[in-house]
Each structure stands twice: as structure tokens, then as C-alpha cells.
């Protein structure tokens, strides 16, 4: 049967017409005086419910705002919302604000677009008792304020769920609030700096013009006073960060760039006031404003690219299940993971994640341990086998006895170790910081020397002071301050366009200095799932039957066979199998049209009386009908495309490559030999991997991984890189994310960072050379305003122009 696809009225996803819920709405149209019919289709009762809820409460304007965007269909399985009203929950997440209202921070799941934000805010605002709701579009975080004596939090959560979204609380730690405050503070200072600098510039243009055409002293003084008024807030309000930085620098006996900026700007300011009051000579208020504005801009670019670690931990905490089903007095009870004791019996359903470590009492089936061990195939578990928290039950219902309480179970131990590791991540000192320290010291010394030489030569104090200051002014660190941020920003932009997300600007430099590349095997070097590499079919083979059989199992091997069949054959028919049964660690057996259909490994065939004399170093899948072999397939986890090129690039750049894996030695060795990897370590636990990375902390390490098993190692490495398809946790912990999952992006990340770093070095060299040329002029007392202004803009322009060259190599 060929059905046409129709769109769900609520979520706009396309489905076959046959599976949709059809609804006809008859109404009388006054315009045409006839009865009209509107037909609506819904993919599920969830969508239908949400649609009617919205139209009944007058919120159907949502669909106009949504346009053609697609939503995800609402899910039905939620934890009981009454847990939101418990005292322990309140203690952890709910605060009282200054007005006496309750306040909580939530993350809203399922937000796709601005229409979703609009809908959630409208719906919640209509609820009696809700005082304020503010949802952030970018990170889906919401601040909710409500009056607890009028409405309970659980009712608010129910409201969010009823319109097809879900909400869970998070703890907005001090860290996050601090980061937000810092950003806002910078906005304010930048706004003032820009206002001051831009207005001073147009006044300065008049002064420069007057320099050539002649301007009387009175007019000069008027303009100087106007500039003075404008420069004052720029220096003392916007420039406050530099004074603060200079103070801390002096306190810790470190000469930093802030000292140079602060002293340079302050002395120039004082000198300019002196000139203005004296009513002769040239004032440099424009330099004061420009220095502060440019350097502040450079600092701001760095603040913008900072990602708060707090965000990361919120997402991690979400991955730990909150509640489990515990068997008490022959009854299942859903209780918090913290209340489970050792010896309790937990029931776990297919698709659920184990929250606590334990031992199987009842049930036989598969557990997906890929996220913890990197083992590419699900592991078969039977009675007395151990269950590790964080692994996912694949196909059957299990009951298991708890052996360790929650805080000692693998998953939560991993999370707490992670929190530790993230706060202790090794950092490399940036080149620009190193240089600016020496540079600042040198300039200050030169300025002082110049002043004394001039004074003792003999010149008047005024003249000597002015020449001394001009050394600091001309050495205006604009170019130096912009050298790194501009280049890295262009590098980040280039990476972003090519699917490489650097989370912080400074990582480009660290990555460029990498000495060791550590790779996870499954999912990083290899595809992470088996693929058919060889297929052989015999007479009487029916591809449609194989498809029906292979799709009935979730095992990766049969999934791979199913995908291969779909790809290789056209016009496949849909068969309905009778009594399909999975035999653990063996295969699948089913009946179709009175025939016995088998699919599985060699042992399974032997068990069913079929002799197999085919052998392979890779996994084999056999397909038989009525005890006659119809086809067999050879499958393996293939290395990703571009791996060889990556290794070659590493070799060329003297980067040592290491492969780490939780897999067996044989599998690891085979792959290492094939790809020419010199160093590899197998049978590693997540902790072992992290230890390995830590052991090599004297080198600059880059760790690439995808699963939860790599998270600790990612956090310990100088640079952690996660594959885009990896688990959310590993993406959160990593410093760089490769969105398209390809090894080619990894090579490109290396190339972009190296090129950016090279240009940062060039930029620093340019600004230093520029200063080398102009400082002698200043020391000789030849600096006129024109040279000062030209020097400032030219050096900055050169640096910006040079940075753009990063893109050249990638231009098509």
C-alpha cells in the first residue's frame, strides 16, 4: 500500500496518512453563508491534546508564529510532578526573592524557535499565581517567579508539560551569575567608551584640520575642554578595569599590560589637562580615549568567548537518573536514587539507564555499555552478572540487587571526579601575555630614562616630561592588545563555518602547540558501529524476508544488515513475521508463511542443525530459511575516512599519536597495525584513560573522544575534542566540538589553529616592529600629533588586515 504523507497540524512532522488521527471540524462561514469543513491531522494524541488546549485557551496564535517550522512530538513519560513540591526539592532549588516570592531556575526542553518561547511565556503568564517568567531563547533557561500560596510549583510544571514541553530545575551557581554580571558590566563600559571615543574623534578631526590651516589658541582651548569632558568618563569609568588590573599587577609584582595602559592613559590625560590650562601646545585626549576603547574591546572579545563551566555541570547532572523503581513488599515504588539502600531490588525496563551498581537477579538480555567502556557491541547479562550504573538496558526487563549506594556507584563517582578535573584543567600561558609583560617593563624604563636624559641634558622640566610621556603614548599598546583577539576571532569564525566549534579563543593557541594526540578507538578512529563489508547470497534468497527479520532486532549487527539490505535492493516488500523471538548472544528466529526463518551467528546456525564452514576475522551474520543457508554477511567497524591523512599530518608536525581503548587487545592491535599507530593501550577503564592523560601532563595533550568513557580523559587533557554525535556530556566537557564528526575536521582544526597562531605571532611582531620604529622618534622629541595618530591607526589596521589572511588558505 502506498500512502501519501501528511503533516501533523501541531508538530508539522510528516507521516503516512494511514497512521494519522483525522479530525473534521464543521463550522458555518458567515462570509459565504455555507457550511465549511476543516480537516486536521494529528500524529498522536499528545499533539491533538496540545492543539485543543491551545485553541481553547486562545493561544492558537502560536501556529502563526511557528510558520513552517517543525516541532518534536510531545512525549508522555514524565516523572511525577509532585516530586517538585517536596521540601527537599525546595531546599535545593527554590529561593525566596526580595519581594517574598518563590524563584526557581529551569531549563525548558523542546524549545525550537521564538514561537515556542512565546507560547511558554504566554501560557505560564495566564496561570494565576505566576508573577514573572522569562525564558532565554539562546540557552532555553528560564527564570520563574511565583507566589507559592496561590499556585504550587507542580501545577506550573504540569502546565509546561501539557503544552508539549518539559522543564527540569538547575542550580544557577554563583559562577554563572558572576559571568553574566561581568558581561553586563563590560557592555556598560564599552558603551561609554565608544560614545566618548567617537565624539572625541570628530572634535579631533577639527583639531587636525586646524593643525594645517591654522587655528587660534582660543578655539583650540574650547575644543580641548570638550575633549576633556568626554575623555574623563572614558578613562575613569571604562578604563577602571585597567586601573584594577594594574593594582593587582603591582601587588603581585608582575608588570602586565594593564600597568602600561593605565599609566600611559593616565599620564597622557594629566599632561593634556596641563596643556589645556596652560593654553599652549597639543593635548592628546583623543589618544586617551582611543587607547582605552581599543584595549577594552580586545578584552571584551575574550570575555564574550568565555563559556561558563556552570552551564556544563548543569547538563551533566541531568544525565544522572533521579528516580528508580524499587521493589518493596512485592510492590514497585518509584523513589529518589538517594534513598535507595544497598540490598534493595531495582527493576529496570528496556531503554532505561541504570543509576546504581548492582547484580542481576532476574532477566537475561543485553546492556549497552558503549558509553562507559567503549565496547562496540552490547554485552549479554544473565543472573549474577554485574550491572554498572550509566549503562543502558537494551531489550529485556531486569531485576537487580543494589551493591553500592548512589554516591559510590560508578556514574555519580564519574560525575564528581569530572567536577574536580574541570576545575583543575591545565592552562598554558598565552604568548601575548608573556610578551606584553616584557614590553610594558621595557617601555616604562625607556620613558623614565628619556625623561631624565632630557632633563639633565638640560631642558625645562615641562619639555622633558612631555617627551617622556610621548614615549608611552606612542607605544600605545592598541596593536599589541588587538593582535591576539582579532586573529583568534577570525580563526574561530573560520572554524565555525567548517563545523569546528572552539569554545574559547585561547584554545586555538593551545591547540597549535599540541605535542601529543590521544584518540579513542570506537566512534573516533572507527565509525563506532559495524558495517557490512562483504555479502554473499545463495539461490532462493529473498531480500524482503531478510529485511523483515533484521529490522526486528535492535542489535547493532542486525541493524547494520538491515541498513545494508535497504541500500542494496530496490522495491522491497513489507512482510509481517509471526512469533519473532530473540535468542540472546545468538540471533533471531521467526516464522513467515509457515517457514522457519533464522538470522544470527555461526553458533546459532549450529544449534539449529546447519553446518557452517565459513570463517572470518570479523563478525559474521548468517541468514537461513527452513534450515537452508540463504546468505551471509561479513561486518566490521570500519576506520573513518581521512584517518591516514590525519596521521600523516601529525607525523609532519611532530605530533605523537596514541590510541586508547576499552576494547580487547586483539581488536586494538589489529587496527593499530592496519593504520600504523605506534603506541596504543587496550582494556582501559575511564579512569585508566584519564590517568594516562594526566601522566603526560608535561606535554601539551589533545584528547579526542565521543563517549562517556572518554569524559574524564577529555577533562584532563589540555584540549578535549568531542565528536558531534557523541554523548552530550562529552560535548559539554570538551573544548572543541567537531560537528560533522569527520576526521577531516580534526585535521582542519589543527591546521586552522596553527595558522591562527602563526598570524598571532606575526601580529605581535608587527606591533613590536612598529614600536621599535616610532619609539626612537618619541625619545628624540620628534613626535607631533599627526605621527601619533597615524602610528596608532596604522599599526592597528596592519594587525587587523594581517589577521584576515588566516582565511586565505581556505578561500575557494
Amino acid at each position: 500500500m502506498n500512502l501519501s504523507k501528511v503533516e501533523c497540524t501541531h508538530c508539522h512532522l510528516d507521516f503516512d496518512e494511514g497512521v494519522m488521527i483525522k479530525e473534521e471540524d464543521h463550522y458555518f462561514s458567515e462570509e459565504s453563508s455555507t457550511e465549511q469543513t476543516t480537516i486536521r491531522y494529528f500524529c498522536c494524541t499528545g499533539c491533538q491534546g496540545v492543539f485543543h488546549l491551545l485553541s481553547d485557551s486562545g493561544l492558537d496564535g502560536f501556529y502563526d508564529k511557528l510558520g513552517t517550522k517543525k516541532l518534536s512530538a510531545p512525549t508522555h513519560t514524565f516523572e511525577d510532578s509532585s516530586s517538585f513540591d517536596t521540601p527537599s526539592f525546595y531546599q535545593q532549588f527554590v529561593r525566596k526573592n526580595d519581594d517574598g516570592f518563590e524563584e526557581i531556575s529551569l531549563v525548558i526542553e523542546g524549545i525550537h524557535c521564538s514561537a515556542c518561547v512565546w507560547l511558554n511565556e504566554k501560557a505560564l503568564n495566564r496561570l494565576e499565581g505566576v508573577v514573572e517568567v522569562n525564558i532565554n531563547y539562546a540557552n532555553n533557561k528560564a527564570k520563574l517567579v511565583w507566589a507559592d500560596h496561590i499556585v504550587k510549583l507542580s501545577s506550573i510544571i504540569d502546565m509546561i508539560r501539557s503544552i508539549g514541553y518539559n522543564a527540569y530545575p538547575y542550580d544557577p551557581s554563583v559562577q554563572e551569575e558572576k559571568a553574566n554580571k561581568e558581561r553586563k558590566d563590560f557592555y556598560l563600559r564599552i558603551a561609554v567608551a565608544f560614545f566618548g571615543a567617537m565624539n572625541i574623534m570628530w572634535i579631533a578631526i577639527a583639531q587636525y584640520a586646524g593643525y594645517f590651516t591654522g587655528m587660534d589658541q582660543e578655539m583650540k582651548t574650547i575644543l580641548n575642554v570638550a575633549e576633556w569632558v568626554l575623555a574623563t568618563p572614558v578613562l575613569f569609568y571604562s578604563g577602571w578595569v585597567f586601573f584594577k588590573g594594574a593594582y593587582f599587577g603591582i601587588k603581585n609584582k608582575i608588570v602586565n599590560m594593564d600597568i602600561l595602559v593605565a599609566t600611559g592613559a593616565l599620564l597622557t590625560y594629566i599632561y593634556s589637562i596641563y596643556i589645556t590650562l596652560l593654553q599652549e601646545g597639543e593635548a592628546y585626549f583623543d589618544s586617551v580615549a582611543m587607547i582605552i576603547t581599543f584595549v577594552l574591546l580586545g578584552k571584551f572579545l575574550e570575555v564574550l568567548s568565555k563559556k561558563s563551566a556552570a552551564d556544563t555541570l548543569d547538563v551533566i547532572a541531568r544525565h544522572v537518573p533521579n528516580e528508580v523503581n524499587v521493589l518493596r513488599k512485592e510492590q514497585l515504588e518509584r523513589i529518589s536514587v538517594h534513598e535507595v539502600k544497598v540490598g534493595d531490588i531495582i527493576e529496570i525496563k528496556p531503554g532505561e539507564k541504570a543509576a546504581l551498581d548492582g547484580e542481576v537477579l532476574q532477566g537475561e538480555g543485553y546492556f549497552d555499555e558503549a558509553s562507559l567502556s567503549g565496547e562496540s557491541h552490547p554485552i549479554f547479562k544473565k543472573e549474577k552478572d554485574k550491572i554498572i550504573s550509566g549503562t543502558i538496558c537494551v531489550d529485556t526487563l531486569f531485576r537487580y540487587k543494589v551493591l553500592k549506594d548512589f554516591s559510590h556507584s560508578t556514574l555519580s563517582r564519574l560525575v564528581s571526579m569530572l567536577e574536580n578535573a574541570m576545575s583543575k584543567k591545565p592552562r598554558i600561558e598565552m604568548l601575548a601575555n608573556k610578551i606584553s609583560g616584557h614590553f610594558s617593563t621595557a617601555i616604562l624604563v625607556l620613558a623614565v630614562v628619556t625623561f631624565f636624559v632630557w632633563w639633565l641634558w638640560p631642558h625645562s622640566f615641562d619639555r622633558s616630561f612631555m617627551v617622556g610621556i610621548s614615549v608611552i603614548v606612542i607605544a600605545c599598546p592598541c596593536a599589541l592588545a588587538l593582535a591576539t583577539p582579532v586573529a583568534t576571532l577570525i580563526g574561530l569564525g573560520l572554524g565555525g563555518k567548517r563545523g569546528i566549534l572552539f569554545k574559547k579563543a585561547s584554545q586555538l593557541e593551545t591547540m597549535a602547540k599540541a605535542q601529543m594526540l590521544i584518540l579513542d578507538k570506537t566512534g573516533t578512529i572507527t565509525e563506532g558501529k559495524p558495517n557490512v563489508i562483504k555479502a554473499k547470497v545463495f539461490e532462493g534468497f529473498d531480500a524482503s524476508l531478510l529485511l523483515a527479520l533484521s529490522t526486528s532486532s535492535l542489535h547493532p549487527i542486525s541493524q547494520a544488515v538491515s541498513a545494508y539490505t535497504k541500500e542494496s535492493y530496490e522495491s522491497l516488500q513489507t512482510y509481517t513475521l509471526l512469533s519473532s523471538k530473540q535468542v540472546p548472544s545468538r540471533g533471531i528466529v521467526a516464522v513467515y508463511d509457515g517457514k522457519k526463518v533464522l538470522g544470527g551467528n555461526a553458533e546459532f546456525m549450529k544449534d539449529n542443525g546447519i553446518t557452517i564452514d565459513i570463517e572470518s576475522e570479523y563478525s559474521l551474520f548468517f541468514f537461513a530459511v527452513d534450515d537452508k543457508l540463504m546468505a551471509y554477511y561479513e561486518l566490521r567497524d570500519m576506520p573513518k575516512e581521512g584517518v591516514q591523512e590525519l596521521f600523516q599530518m601529525c607525523k609532519d608536525n611532530a605530533i605523537h599519536v596514541v590510541m586508547l581503548t576499552g576494547d580487547h587487545k586483539n581488536t586494538a592491535q589489529k587496527l593499530a597495525d592496519e593504520l600504523g599507530i605506534q603506541e596504543y593501550h587496550s582494556d582501559l577503564s575511564p579512569e585508566d584513560k584519564a590517568n594516562f592523560v594526566q601522566k603526560h601532563s608535561q606535554k601539551v595533550t589533545v584528547m579526542v573522544g565521543d563517549g562517556v568513557n572518554d569524559v574524564l580523559a577529555l577533562a584532563h587533557a589540555n584540549i578535549g575534542i568531542a565528536m558531534g554525535s557523541g554523548s552530550d556530556i562529552s560535548i559539554e566537557v570538551s573544548d572543541i566540538v567537531l560537528l560533522n564528526d569527520s576526521i577531516k575536521s580534526l585535521s582542519e582544526a589543527f591546521l586552522i589553529s596553527r595558522r591562527t597562531y602563526k598570524l598571532v605571532k606575526q601580529n605581535l611582531a608587527i606591533s613590536l616592529v612598529y614600536n621599535l620604529l616610532t619609539i626612537p622618534l618619541a625619545m628624540g622629541g620628534y613626535i607631533i600629533p599627526l605621527i601619533a595618530a597615524a602610528s596608532m591607526s596604522f599599526s592597528s589596521l596592519l594587525v587587523v588586515g594581517n589577521s584576515i589572511r588566516i582565511k586565505w588558505k581556505w578561500r575557494r
Binding site: D99, N125, G129, F195, M219
Partner: protein, 67 residues
């Protein structure tokens, strides 16, 4: 040109500019630029409803305040 006129023009333009700056600073401080995507989208939803809602929000703050 009389210097007095230049002083007056400079003074007035700087004052007007300062007023605009004060407006921007106030908007930043009260969080109106915190979420730039939402800010741009809210322009589309602006209207009588939004005003009513703002008034309603103020009313609720007063009515619900616990003693």
C-alpha cells in the same frame, strides 16, 4: 565664527548625546539587551496584548505579595 556659538553647539550636542547614552545604559542595566534574539523577536509580537500583560504583571506583583 563667534567662539560663543561653537561653545553652545558643542555643549548642546554633547548634552543630547549624553542623554541618549544614559538611555542605552539604563536599558542595559535593566536587562533589555540580555537576550538579543528574543529582543528582536519581541518586536514582532509587540502590541496591545504586550502592554496589557505588562500591566497585569505589575498588578500581580502587588496582589500576590505575601504579608
Amino acid at each position: 565664527m563667534d567662539n560663543g556659538i561653537v561653545i553652545m553647539m558643542l555643549g548642546i550636542s554633547l548634552l543630547l548625546g549624553a542623554l541618549a547614552l544614559a538611555g542605552v545604559l539604563w536599558a542595559i542595566k535593566t536587562g533589555q539587551f540580555d537576550d538579543k534574539d528574543k529582543m528582536m523577536n519581541n518586536v514582532l509580537d509587540d502590541g496591545e496584548d504586550a502592554l496589557n500583560e505588562a500591566a497585569e504583571k505589575e498588578r500581580r506583583k502587588k496582589d500576590y505579595r505575601p504579608e
